[in-house]
Subunit: 196 residues, 2 copies
Amino acid sequence: MRARDIDKENLVKKTAIEIIGKGGFEHFSINKLAKACGISVATLYIYYKDKEDLLSSLATELGRKMGDAMLKDFDPESSFEAGLRQQWLNRYHYMIENQSISLFFEQVRTSSYQEQFLKAFAEDLKNVFGKFMDNIVARGEINAMPLEVYWSVAFAPLYALIKFNNEGQSLGGKPFKLTDEMFWQAFDLVVKALKR
Amino acid sequence: MRARDIDKENLVKKTAIEIIGKGGFEHFSINKLAKACGISVATLYIYYKDKEDLLSSLATELGRKMGDAMLKDFDPESSFEAGLRQQWLNRYHYMIENQSISLFFEQVRTSSYQEQFLKAFAEDLKNVFGKFMDNIVARGEINAMPLEVYWSVAFAPLYALIKFNNEGQSLGGKPFKLTDEMFWQAFDLVVKALKR
DNA sequence: CATAAGTAAATGAATATTCACTTATATTTG
DNA sequence: CAAATATAAGTGAATATTCATTTACTTATG
């Protein structure tokens, strides 16, 4: 029996991520992907049942990996500031080390594959972060508030900065690169917002 | 000379916004649009040079209108809190009154038409809001910081809440509707973050 | 040498765009 | 004032291309 070429399989994933990250699902097609990889379309149909399967597999796999990266060194029993710092750091490091994947996620988040992605991504996370939020509210470190209000204040600024950084530009096309200084500046503001 | 049917033209715009808002650019096509409007494809090629022209015209026009809505009753000489409140209110009201357009924008923001949109959107706004930021820093109401850090803390939470609301769900598919209470709760947190 | 990996070429459906044509109406002309 | 004309609006059917997927075949290797 002939063994599957792992390099080829990885090339497919990497290339798909790049095409989608750059041009969105609008400009992605199976034929383009095969051509960009220098392989036959039919090979893709050995790896994946169909286009839907390819994309949702990719979204699920990457979602899971990202979820794991988010949980690294995170302790739901830690204090509000220490816990939030770890979450910000995990996202920041992941973004720097996986720029093309971050761009891919940006597309997934506004697509029909969002659900697949969130399922893999949010399953464990929701429990761990939910627990963290319960703890810090119970300890009186932050006020009680709807999850969405907390999330929007605690993380939306970080994701906005990451998006600017990945696209290389901010408002009105102004060139932009996120620095550690800006990162911590934003973090401190968010802590100030939420801390009692 | 025959006059162009304005109703038809508006129907085209409205329908395009709906299709894209619902399914993204991925599921949008000229033929589908024509069929949904009950007109001939060829008519669309009278209104617009090609697909690209149709979409970037739409993004530009709506960007401009939204920009105008953002500036309503906004005074760059006002205090930090009053100014930010007006900006939040303008965005909030616009979202409520233009839900399908808000969904359309959500798609534009991760597409290749983002640039067109931002250009129309940010041209005037940048000056007015830049002036506002200069004023409040000069008056010592907030600390000096990069525009992107300010923007990410001041507005990203609001956009996150609006996105949840437009999609009708938040993290992990949890049903969600933004209330006035949550809106003001988030606003107060953001003010607390930025105020000296 | 059996078996799965891998392929080139083909399929029909969907896509963007164009074509040759008809229709409505503002303006001109008798 | 009404018939004629010009012109852009509007059309249905055709085109060429791209799409997702399949088929019939070759190749590599346990």
